[in-house]
């Protein structure tokens, strides 16, 4: 009886505003992840927490909406020939190991340095990784746009060419997205890093997708679609682990799923209208904006740990609000770029069809 009462206290009362809010954030998150393979979690988890949901329940419920969403998204994108199931499963399994290890590190940090220490670690990881990877992805997308060569086939990076050239007998696996054999000794650490990041900042795709593109040599469209398979494998395992402890609030997960399934279908359709560099552009833009959002919180946690001068409670609250606002802005801007690119693509296709029709006439 006591257990039930305790578990029930983990679950908040839901009113109509909360339901609509979760549905909408779910929709926008789904739209972005249908397009770039991940995203949304970095807004959804804090959004749930701001409603009074305990942190772990928010993480667990987010994960329980993520795997069915990723499943539907990957099925849809597989229909467009964009998914490399084998690469997704191979990376997904090693990502699962990364999640477990990442969660273990998190627990250790929380034990030694408390809640603020854990928050500081998460924010610092966000800032460092997003600055390096996000900056690189955005720069690459920007260069492609500037070159005016947006229709050209994506070039495989030097690093990826080297990775594909290394032959370690007994470990080589053929992946259709790379059209080459690659040693699993390269894919395992990449999957592991994706999982560790997923356990730390909830968005493994921020490492998963760029590593498939730049380290393994997969085209952007296939990398972002394959990320959905990784998210499914990782999310399924993670959800089960959390559900074993009774932490999944199925109502929250399913309401977010209601919105995100509308979004993910639309995002997946969107990928068929855009040029590949747009995947990198959306991802880079979101990563760099989220970086500022998390960076803003670093001094707050540092002051809580006594590493710098104390920041007043009202200032800390303000910074937290601004940080959350920037994150919502990042997601909304990502969604806007996706919708705009899709609208333009549809218009171009309509015009081309019209032209062809008139030409025949």
């Amino acid at each position: 009886m006591h257990d039930i009462a305790q578990a029930a206290s983990n679950f908040i009362n839901l009113d109509t505003i909360n339901i609509v809010y979760l549905f909408l954030v779910g929709f926008v998150g789904g739209l972005v992840s249908g397009f770039i393979g991940s995203g949304g979690a970095f807004v959804l988890t804090p959004a749930m927490m701001s409603m009074g949901v305990p942190g772990l329940v928010a993480v667990a419920s987010n994960m329980c909406h993520k795997f069915p969403k990723a499943l539907i998204g990957s099925i849809k994108r597989a229909k467009y020939g964009q998914v490399d199931v084998k690469l997704g499963i191979v990376l997904g399994i090693s990502a699962e190991a990364g999640v477990l290890y990442g969660a273990h590190i998190q627990e250790g940090i929380k034990k030694s340095f408390g809640e603020a220490g854990s928050n500081l670690y998460v924010s610092a990881a966000f800032v460092v990784i997003l600055a390096i990877v996000g900056g690189f992805v955005l720069l690459d997308a920007w260069k492609t746009k500037k070159s005016g060569n947006t229709n050209a086939e994506e070039k495989v990076t030097k690093l990826a060419r080297w990775v594909q050239s290394v032959n370690i007998p007994g470990t080589m696996v053929y992946f259709k997205s790379l059209n080459a054999k690659v040693s699993v000794l390269f894919t395992i650490p990449l999957g592991f890093a994706t999982g560790m990041l997923a356990a730390t900042i909830a968005v493994g795709g921020f490492v998963g997708v760029p590593s498939m593109i730049y380290v393994l040599g997969a085209p952007s469209l296939m990398a972002s679609a394959t990320e959905l398979v990784i998210a499914f494998v990782m999310g399924l395992g993670g959800s089960f682990k959390f559900a074993m402890s009774g932490l999944v609030d199925i109502r929250l997960a399913m309401i977010i799923l209601a919105g995100s399934l509308f979004g993910i279908q639309l995002g997946a359709i969107g990928t068929t209208y855009v040029k590949p560099y747009m995947i990198k552009m959306v991802m880079g833009v979101i990563m760099v904006i989220v970086l500022f959002s998390r960076g803003l919180m670093v001094p707050v946690y540092m002051s809580q740990l006594g590493l710098i001068q104390e920041i007043s409670e009202s200032s800390a609250k303000l910074m937290k609000g601004v940080s959350f606002g920037i994150m919502i802005f990042a997601l909304a801007l990502g969604a806007f770029i996706v919708l705009k690119a899709m609208w333009q693509g549809r218009r171009e296709q309509r015009l081309a069809a019209q032209e062809a029709f008139e030409h025949v006439k």
Binding site: H65, Q82, L221, G246, I250, A258, T272, P276
Partner: protein
């Protein structure tokens, strides 16, 4: 262009899945206390949220997919995917 006009839109299927999906969500919201109690037990009950997620994703996913098709929003037709 003519292809999309000839092909029938899946309105019947969309409505059917939409009704089931709505019923599932109505049940979810009406039985909140019961669900919280049972799904929050943990242990072997962990299968319940996982199965629920699969069922909802199948029904609601099919509905949302058909929804966009009926709305006329479909994948680009001629675009060749990168090999």
């Amino acid at each position: 262009m003519s292809e999309s006009k000839v092909r029938k839109k899946p309105i019947g299927k969309m409505l059917f899945m939409g009704v089931i999906s709505t019923a599932l969500y109505a049940a979810l919201l009406m039985k909140q206390d019961f669900l919280n109690e049972v799904f929050g037990k943990g242990g072997v009950y962990a299968f319940l949220p996982i199965i629920t997620a699969f069922v909802f994703s199948f029904i609601h996913g099919s509905f949302t997919g058909d929804f966009w098709t009926v709305m006329g929003i479909e994948a680009a037709k001629k675009k060749k995917e990168v090999k």
